[in-house]
Structures are given as structure tokens and as C-alpha cells.
Symmetry: C2
DNA sequence: TGTACATCAGTGAACGCGCGTTCACTGATGTAC
DNA sequence: TGTACATCAGTGAACGCGCGTTCACTGATGTAC
């Protein structure tokens, strides 16, 4: 693939970088995101602390690299989930929702790194990279909403053919969206991200996407931080209910049986 | 009030404890929850670090005290909001929702302390206290759902008299709740909390309460941790839309005009 | 009201620790001829 | 294929720092007679 030709030194370097990140993430898993320490990583790698400075100029550079990696891994997981249900926006939303939760629970240190407290001394240097990475994850929801929004998704017709309409009455013209937003309500970067993919994407759909993100995030964050388990035995069930409710927002019911 | 009679020593002690907590919270505001340091607090109080050990046996004891305080302050704010709209469950939910967001935004270090990453070395000693404090906050939602649930709230009749029913069709028998839960799905402490206040409280209503909590929490957490502002100019508006949607879950529309 | 003793908040110095970062160095790997 | 030089990952020691916690102590506040 990218195996152009690497010298022994280059191969080792790539491997070492991978090891550093892997150990860093594991340490975060054990001691919390704030417990990340160059010295501890070096210790576990059997290196001197100073040696790490061949790979990152500073602790913050390592952190930035980790954050970007984590966003990418999340975006990849979500995008794979979305693609697993072609031509079925509600099914996509459900799959992405389930994946978001499972990713967050299964890799909670990563989740905490990007969605939790900022790391104590950490200041973003090149936040363009972080922002772009976050947009990659956010874009998955945009694509789903676009597919469900009348007159946008090329797949819309197919989706409507297979999915039933949920509400008793006649299908509403567009998924429930409260306000009427304009693009000036959004930051340029975000707007650009949505509109380059879908030129006709309406601002109301962007607002809806963000609200959906919020609904997915709420129960997941509570669960990851241990606020749900002391109340309820099976947070996944609660979340499943919420997802089913969410799909109604798109005016569609999930195509298949719920994924428990 | 509780001014029974305090010696000069006792008065000073109470004041000092108040100062310690206040400074601790301010430091957390500036350096993040993980930046809490006994030495830094002592420095700002003009004391030696060791002196703090007259007040707390250990750093973790201070943290526990802070956490309990924070939960209490939150519960108090939410309860006040709820009471500001008597006999109007949907209005209560809206007021509580707005208050939750404003509390979280305005006192984000406190929010992070209880809903964010655990503090690095911190281990809960007497978690009974923390759990009880969390239940106090959670109980506010329980009371709202109870008031809206048919056949429970004594205030239900009054609420129905003043509130309009939202859906075009006839009012559904109970607010939308997906599963049919039993009390064995919940932890005993949580169930006890709900059922001692409302003996007839159904498990489905408890599940709904937790889901509502999740919906409030989602956008709020994203905003507090800086994931909304890079996308949208006015997160409050998004949250307002969400709240209005939420009120429909209770089958009621907000009584007054939306609060911006 | 005055004296003798007990309490206890606060001092100051010390402990052992882990941290990020710098720096002159060594020695294996890579490159040019 | 062999030699001379350049690169650069990693060493080991040191820097200055802040941390939580302990401990013998001082001195003001409170209490009992």
C-alpha cells in the first residue's frame, strides 16, 4: 500500500511512534486522561524520557497527535456503521448511534480525551487539525440527515420506498425542525463542511444534525462517566429506546429489528 | 438561624472552611478540575500547606466535600426552577432545562467536577454521600415526570386544565415511553428514591426520567466542553429547540412563551 | 476577676516523589564516493 | 565491495519545579476552678 520503500531506520521509527501512542492510550485508560506522562511512557518502552523528544518536540505535540488519531478512529467507525445500511437513513442513524455508544464505552479513555476535561497544562497549537478531525466525525450525521431530508439525498426515493412512515397522519414535509436557521447562524468552517458535500443542504438540517449529536451524546456521556449504572441495570436498553425515538425525528422507522 | 452560639474559634473555623472551598472552586475554574492542589489553596489563603490538615484529613476528603456541595447547589437550583412553575409539568421541565444549562455554563468547573473526568488520584471513600447527593439532583426530574404522569401527580388535573395538548390526535394515555420496565431493572437505591416520594410511580416513568436527563445533558456537555461553539453561534437556541421538543414527550406544550 | 491548664489552628522545615525538558555524549544505521 | 563521513535514535545525568503528607513546635483562644 504505502510500502514505497522504507529504510530500517524509517521502519523502526514508524513502529516506535505506533508503540508510543498505544502505550499512551493504555496509560490514559488506567490513570485517566490527566495521568498522561512522558516519563511513564518512556519507562514502559524501556527508554529514557529524553529519547521521546526524537519523536515529539513536546508533550503537547504528543497529545495533539493522539487527539487527531482518536477523532479519526471515531469517524472511521461511525462512517463504517453508516455505510452498513445503504439507502436507509433511519437505519443508518440507529447503526451510527449504537456504534457511537459502543465506541465510547469500549474505548472510554479515548472518549474522555476528546469529549472530557481538557488535559491540565495542554494548549492547542494547531487547532485547525483538531477541528478538521472533529468535523470528519460530525460529517457522518450530516450525511444521514441529508439523505433523509426531502430533495437532497439522491437515495431519498429509495429510502422512502422501503421505509414506512411513522406518524399516524400524513408524512410531514421535512423532519421536525423547530427554528428556521440561516447559514449565518453557523461558523463558516462548519457550514462549508456541510455545503461542499451537499450544496442544497438547508441550515435547518444542520441544526437538526447538531441536536441529534446532542441526543446521542447525552446518555453516552452519562454512562461513560458512571452516572447511569448506579441508577439502572441496563443503560443500553435506555439508549435503545432513545435511538428509536430519535429515528422518528427523521420521520422514518428503523427498517430492521432493533439491535438490542 | 443556626446561630446557636459559636465561640470565636468555631466562627473562624466555619469561615475558613468556606474560604477553602471557594478558593478550591476558583482554582478549578482556572486550571481545570485536575489542577486542584492543597499547596496552591494554602498559598492563596496565606497559610502553610500543612495547616489545611486541620480541616481535612486528606486531599480526597476535600474533594469529596466539594463534590457533595456541588451536587447540593445544583439540586437546589433545579428545585427552585421547578417550583417557579407550579402545576405545570411542561413549564417545569422547560425551566429546569434552562437552569441546568445556565448552571453548567456559568459554573463549568463545578459541572466538570461532577460530570467530567474523575480527578487523577481520587478514590471515593464514602460514596454513599455522593450517591445521595446525585439522587437529590435527579429527583427533580422524577418529580416533574410524576406530575405529568396520569394518575400520579395530585396536580395533574390542574395542569391539564391550563395546558394544551400538543399532538393533533387525542391525548395518549401516558407520555411516550418505549419499553415496559419493571423495578428490577433499576438499582434499589434509585427505585427507593422514586417510590418513597411517589408510591405509584411506574418504572416506565423512571426510565423516561433518565432519558430526559440524558437529553438535557447531551447538548449541555457538548457546549461546556467546547464542541458546540466551533459549529454554531448560539448554542442556547439549539438547546431551546431541544427543550421544546422534550416538552412534547410529556404530551404538553410549554405554558408561557419560550424563554429565548 | 484572676490564675493554671487544655485545646488546637497554624508554622516551618523536611520527606520522597514524579514531572517536562535540556544537553553533551555514544554508537549503530545510512550514504557518497 | 570497501572506506570516510553524516545522520540521528537513544543514554544518563542534571535542572528546577510542584506535589501530598508528617512532625515537633509556638502561641493565641477557651475552660475550670
Amino acid at each position: 500500500m504505502d510500502g514505497v520503500k522504507l529504510s530500517r531506520r524509517e521502519r523502526l521509527r514508524v513502529e516506535t511512534v505506533r508503540d508510543i501512542k498505544e502505550i499512551a492510550l493504555r496509560h490514559m485508560a488506567e490513570q485517566g486522561a490527566a495521568g498522561l506522562s512522558l516519563r511513564a511512557i518512556a519507562r514502559e518502552m524501556g527508554m529514557t524520557a529524553g529519547a521521546l523528544y526524537s519523536y515529539y518536540d513536546t508533550r503537547d505535540d504528543l497529545i495533539t497527535a493522539l487527539i487527531v488519531d482518536v477523532y479519526d478512529s471515531l469517524a472511521q467507525a461511525l462512517e463504517a456503521a453508516r455505510r452498513s445500511r445503504p439507502d436507509d437513513p433511519a437505519g443508518q442513524l440507529e447503526a451510527v448511534g449504537v456504534t457511537y455508544r459502543e465506541w465510547a464505552i469500549g474505548r472510554s479513555p479515548e472518549f474522555q480525551l476528546v469529549y472530557g476535561d481538557p488535559i491540565p497544562g495542554y494548549k492547542v497549537r494547531d487547532d485547525g487539525a483538531e477541528l478538521a478531525a472533529e468535523h470528519r466525525a460530525c460529517g457522518v450525521l450530516i450525511r444521514i440527515v441529508a439523505a433523509a431530508w426531502p430533495g437532497i439525498g439522491a437515495t431519498r426515493a429509495a429510502a422512502e420506498a422501503t421505509a414506512e412512515v411513522t406518524t399516524g397522519g400524513p408524512a410531514r414535509p421535512a423532519p421536525a425542525a423547530a427554528g428556521s436557521y440561516t447559514w449565518s447562524d453557523f461558523r463558516p468552517d462548519f457550514a462549508a463542511m456541510a455545503r461542499t458535500s451537499f450544496p442544497d443542504f438547508p441550515p435547518d438540517a444542520a441544526a437538526l444534525s447538531l441536536r441529534i449529536w446532542g441526543r446521542l451524546h447525552g446518555l453516552v456521556a452519562l454512562e461513560v462517566y458512571g452516572h447511569l449504572r448506579p441508577q439502572v441495570n441496563d443503560p443500553a436498553r435506555l439508549y435503545g429506546d432513545e435511538l428509536r425515538d430519535l429515528c422518528e425525528l427523521l420521520n422514518l422507522t428503523p427498517s430492521g429489528a432493533p439491535t438490542a
